[in-house]
């Protein structure tokens, strides 16, 4: 083995050096391992649910078990996988590198965030081991606060604690992006990933406290045995929904905005072109973050909320679709007159756009009041948000992991395998979730373990798709692990990409840059493509 130059991975090997690290790159990897753990549990729960739904009868698991499975799946996927996925893993790794900083603004706080996340995860996991929770991830009162006989309080405590981790991560990014940029790196020279992380951090910081207080009120009500969401005391259960969705709708944008940031990095790189409409893409992230706070009531169109409030929320929900549409248009326009190659990250990104467009357009169906009355609480909604969160966010996460894998590990992954599994993922995903749109319009309610026989054919299709999707997730896990030892070594910039993170070694040294970089050009300054000659093939695996 040739001697490697000193980098953040090989400085020290002790467990202590990892558990007490304040290096943002190592913390990013700690998050990666942790969320992988929760992803596996949550995916396993999903697998069991899909198996149960093969037949209309509730024959594999009891209704109680099924209810606990979808709660585990929801809670772990939302709070312990999706929300920390791109922000805490890729965000932690990349934000300081992309802005030319030595670390985030508050490195010890960053480590504390991870510990809070792990502690929250511990309580949540412990609640599952004790017997689980059967409220669904939404914890609607009064079921959660009064009627459920499961470990609601402990799971809520876990989410509450992990929430503080989120808040501190968001705070760290906001200050880092505000104050730690390298000389010359003005706002409009920032990579779009940074813009989207900034927008995400605003949501993390301003929405998560409301979740914290909501869960606190619900928990106190449960412990005290009496409370303000309890109709027996004159409380209004719908008020809980207002508070819950004030966080949980913006949380959807926590899940999708970073994915959009990843896409905005990868498309220019594989088209060898400056992104089209930089400022519009940048401001659309901020617009999504802000308008995203104004639309939560569209989860409550049939909740007995005032119909006039429903109309206001419907209008605002239509408006929030505009900035997302602008992004898709600009990504498409970026391809125009580019020099496009189809390595795995690009394939994942193209898959992302396909799935996100379907998810976004079906979002319009749900924003349309009268249609929502029919499809609310059915599989149509399930399909819609999986298209956004799994089709969107997880696909973007895969794209990002592949794109920055050489930077993170210093190794190249096997390209052919990666391309193959990107395609498998796309096919499996569509087969799993597209039939659910049909099921939803047919009227199959969500959160049921048995259903009318006429729905079976679509459920069988969906379960078949889920197995393919499972392969699509398992394959990368295998070949990425394999590449850690056996992949060819990556040089500083295997994709010939623009961006500060590629101007340092792979893996980067502990302090990121040998000397503080000075920035004189815009983001995505790819060399102009003047001739009609194709650019030379790049030397990589």
């Amino acid at each position: 083995m040739t001697a490697e130059p000193q980098n953040y991975l090989n400085g020290e090997y002790t467990i202590k050096s990892w558990l007490l690290t304040t290096d943002h790159k190592r913390i990013g990897l700690l998050y990666l391992l942790t969320i992988l753990f929760f992803f596996v549990i949550a995916a396993f729960a999903a697998g069991l649910m899909r198996l149960e739904l093969l037949t209309p009868q509730g024959d594999l698991v009891s209704s109680d078990t099924y209810n606990k499975l979808f709660t585990i799946h929801g809670v772990m996927m939302v709070w312990f996988f999706l929300i920390p996925s791109i922000p805490s893993v890729l965000g932690n790794f990349l934000v300081p590198l992309m802005i030319g900083a030595r670390d985030v603004a508050f490195p010890r706080l960053n480590l504390l965030s991870w510990y809070l996340f792990v502690l929250g995860g511990f309580f949540t996991f412990h609640a599952v081991i004790l017997g689980g929770v059967d409220t669904g991830w939404t914890f609607y009162t009064p079921y959660s606060s009064t009627y459920s006989n499961s470990h609601v309080t402990e799971m809520a405590l876990g989410i509450f604690i992990a929430g503080f981790g989120s808040i501190l991560t968001g705070l760290n990014f906001i200050i880092t992006i505000q104050k730690m940029r390298a000389p010359g790196l003005t706002w409009f020279r920032l990579p779009l990933f940074i813009w989207s992380m900034f927008a995400t951090s605003i949501i993390l910081v301003l929405a998560t406290p409301v979740l914290a207080i909501t869960l606190l009120l619900m928990g106190v009500e449960r412990i005290w045995g009496i409370g303000i969401f309890n109709p027996k005391l004159g409380g209004d259960p719908v008020l809980f929904q207002h508070l819950f969705w004030f966080y949980s709708h913006p949380a959807v944008y926590i899940m999708i905005l970073p994915g959009m940031g990843v896409v905005s990095e990868i498309i220019p790189c594989f088209s060898r072109k400056q992104i089209f409409g930089y400022k519009f893409v940048a401001f659309s992230s901020v617009a999504i973050a802000v308008i995203g706070f104004l639309v939560w009531g569209h989860h409550m169109f049939v909740s007995s909320q005032s119909i006039y409030a429903g109309m206001a929320f419907s209008l605002l929900s239509f408006l929030v679709s505009i900035p997302s549409a602008i992004k898709v248009f600009n990504w498409t326009a970026t391809l125009y007159r580019g020099s496009i190659s189809f390595e795995a990250p690009m394939l994942y990104v193209l898959g992302f756009i396909g799935l996100f467009v379907v998810g976004g357009l079906t979002g319009l169906f749900l924003a349309t009041l009268a249609v929502d009355v029919h499809v609310h609480g059915t599989y149509f909604v399930v399909a819609h948000f999986h298209y956004i969160m799994v089709g969107g966010m997880v696909t973007a996460f895969m794209a990002g992991i592949h794109f920055w894998w050489p930077k993170i590990t210093g190794r190249l992954y096997p390209e052919k395998w990666a391309q193959f599994s990107a395609i498998i993922l796309f096919i499996g995903f569509n087969l799993t979730f597209f039939p659910q749109f049909v099921l939803g319009y047919l009227g199959m309610p969500r959160r049921v373990h048995e259903y009318a026989p006429e729905f079976q054919v679509y459920n069988v299709l969906s379960t078949a798709g889920a197995t393919i999707l499972g392969v699509g997730y398992l394959l990368p896990l295998i070949y990425l692990l394999w590449s850690l030892k056996n992949g060819p070594r990556a040089d500083q910039n295997p994709w010939q990409a623009a961006g500060l993170e590629w101007k340092t070694a792979s893996p980067p040294p502990e302090h990121n840059f040998e000397e503080t970089p000075v920035i004189t050009e815009e983001a995505y300054a790819y060399p102009p493509l003047t001739s009609s000659q194709p650019t030379p093939e790049e030397p990589h695996g």
Binding site: V210, I226, L233
Partner: protein
């Protein structure tokens, strides 16, 4: 919250950058606190709108004397905190310690008064769910549920604030310790003033509803 290093932390270029980052970080944290308490105020407002009369009737059972005394104590402690921060900026560490100690005393006084008040509330049977005073309307329980939750969370913040200030005093009075950055003390001050601001709203909403009739 603050990186309480006495020199420049390695991730920063210079002291002004560090100071600005730390101050901005504290303000961002306070914004999250605004939304945290804001959720409670929202719940309060909704039920006040629903049960206007019950809230007025229930509020009369709070002890306005304790509440008023505590308000004055907390406002005064904000002054001593501001004076302490001022002294720290002028590098008068002895004065800083004095003012911070005064602030801690006032904070403890606040908690003591709160303790007496809670005791009185319990003997007056104002705890919802536990043998609640039957003279009060049903929805008065919602008022008192919120009263306990809001003042309880506020008191928790007071305790945390006292912990932070005491830590600062400890750091300042270490004989051989390196000097503490003024911005660390400033941040403790910001937190303390925020706790004061929360009380500014709790006081009229909990103690003064329907006082005149």
């Amino acid at each position: 919250m603050a990186e309480r290093t006495t020199t420049i932390a390695k991730q920063f270029e210079d002291l002004p950058q560090q100071r600005e980052a730390v101050t901005l970080g504290m303000w961002t944290f306070l914004a999250t606190e605004v939304l945290f308490f804001g959720g409670l105020f929202l719940v309060y407002s909704v039920y006040r709108h629903f049960y206007f009369n019950a809230f007025a009737a229930a509020s009369k059972h709070t002890d306005v004397v304790y509440g008023t005394v505590n308000s004055v104590i907390l406002i005064t402690s904000s002054l001593t905190m501001a004076l302490g921060v001022r002294a720290a900026k002028l590098i008068q560490y002895r004065n800083t310690i004095r003012f911070l100690l005064l602030t801690v005393c006032l904070g403890l006084a606040f908690l003591a008064v709160k303790g007496f008040e809670y005791h009185k509330d319990i003997t007056d049977r104002l705890v919802p769910g536990l043998d609640f005073n039957p003279d009060l309307p049903l929805h008065g329980q919602i008022f008192f549920w919120l009263y306990w939750t809001m003042t309880g969370l506020h008191a928790l913040h007071v305790i945390i604030g006292l912990g932070v200030i005491s830590t600062m005093i400890g750091l300042l009075s270490r004989r051989n310790g390196r000097p503490v950055h003024a911005h660390s003390i400033e941040n403790a001050g910001l937190y303390w003033h925020f706790v004061d601001i929360v009380w500014i709203y709790l006081y009229p909403l909990l103690y003064l509803v329907g006082r005149h009739s």
